[in-house]
Symmetry: C2
Subunit: 286 residues, 2 copies
């Protein structure tokens, strides 16, 4: 086993990391932004859905009077490709504590037509203004210590078709959810991991949008091997995350009719539940 | 205790019930529909969010080439009132198996301005075309037999401020989630009930949109007493429901920072998980 890839000699600051550069938008006109989607966040040539969500999330943070995503609902329309894209935003409503906006990402297809890739409705607020009451029954996921978990760098590559995104993430998977890499899926719809950015940048709300869609699909532990494209994904950001690694737990309770839901919880280093998400994805049954 | 209100001498057919009449839209122009929001689906003068979702859901079913809602994401902007409203829809993308649309509901406010009440992004398909594989770990909720459960008609009214919607629903709540009605909330974020329409109409996908937001808020069992307005609500319809009563289970794992999530599961009479939803709501802390 190679040395742990999580050893980080220097830590990138928020705003100065690869993630920040690759999600940065160039304003073209009010509510219109250009971006070059980086090939660094792809899995088998498809741009990761969480990376796209972070791009759209930053566009809306620029458009709306509030800067923190509270709840973001995305419908994935067509597969994004690395390269130029344009994001168009609309302010739907502004309020004192919450503002709502809409954003779409477009790319030009091979025949020169503009194609919409993803559309998002989102409500934003100010996470720092929230009262600090916590009355929760949720418990952090039981994940072994990071040094007992495994990343894509440890042993045979677990992601089919190559995956540039794994070089940008610190992803250490709970071995009890890795049976699928040995051809022995557990049959349980669970996936758990330590999560961070490879350059050591601490998490912020936009990194949470990335974190909820960064693990291998639970479908692999349910014995499926194919691609699991997201139809819809909603994230609720519940708290500004503390510095340090995150723990992400994903659960599927219902694989039926060729679709499955994936529920993600993201916990920060202080044991706060900082984000929840649910996505509906298509299962390509063998 | 009065006789069970669920005794139904005649059952309204799908298409001929109060729910169908009150969610029926009048086309004004392509993608534009008029509706008079019924005062029959209010709680303390606010129009129920699930009823609004069913209205928007029917508008999109008319606009899109596919007629069954698969995933509907709604952001609630301002409180709807009974009375005239207009729904405007947009076809975002049409595909072979899924189509995506957007819909907004508007009303005229006291100063004559058109105000957007709710905006929805949704993907539609054909539930009858899905393969009938079911590989699920979810279990139906443990709810006592209907005759051991309690409705708003049984004893002191559990919903503050009056609630016309309770006359239109067959709602029988699990007594173990009713401590709040006796001033003894359990402290657990759970609410469970048998659910149907009072006129005996069998469930369809639009009734599922209603079912996920029809129970008293889990916040009541967490000791909160105030109103819990929905910010965002996403429903996944996973299967066309079989005839007969539904069971609805709602769970909250995280009440923090003045917000809480409510996860609903809806099960049909054949023990199929037919819908899942999650909403983010504001908790008005005492």
């Amino acid at each position: 086993m190679p040395e742990a890839a999580s050893a980080q000699p220097t830590r990138a600051a928020i705003g100065a990391s690869e993630f920040d550069r690759d999600t940065a938008l160039t304003p073209r006109a009010p509510g219109v932004y250009d971006i070059d989607l980086s090939a660094g966040w792809t899995i088998a040539n498809a741009v990761n859905g969480g990376y796209l969500l972070a791009v759209l999330g930053r566009a809306l943070a620029d458009t709306l009077p509030h800067t923190d995503p509270f709840t973001v609902s995305a419908h994935y329309l067509t597969a994004s490709r690395p390269g130029p894209a344009v994001v168009r935003t609309e302010t739907v409503r502004t309020g004192r504590t919450l503002s709502t906006g809409q954003a779409s990402l477009f790319q030009i297809d091979g025949e020169g037509r503009e194609v919409e890739r993803i559309r998002v409705l989102a409500s934003y607020g100010d996470l720092d203004s929230l009262p600090d009451d916590v009355r929760t029954t949720a418990e952090p996921p039981a994940i072994p210590p990071m040094e007992q978990c495994f990343g894509p760098q440890d042993g045979p590559t677990p992601v089919e078709g190559g995956s540039a995104i794994t070089e940008r993430l610190m992803l250490k998977l709970d071995p009890s959810t890795l049976g699928w890499t040995l051809g022995q899926p557990s049959g349980k719809g669970e996936m758990r991991a330590w999560f961070g950015l490879a350059d050591g940048r601490d998490p912020d709300p936009f990194a949470l949008l990335l974190a909820v869609d960064a693990l291998p699909p639970t479908a692999f532990e349910l014995g499926l091997t194919g691609w699991v494209p997201t139809v819809e994904l909603t994230v609720h950001v519940r708290c500004r995350p503390a510095p340090g690694p995150l723990r992400v737990s994903i659960t599927t309770r219902n694989l039926a009719g060729g679709f499955l839901e994936e529920d993600a919880e993201v916990w920060d280093s202080t044991d706060r539940l900082v984000a929840q998400s649910r996505q509906l994805a298509r299962a390509r049954l063998a």
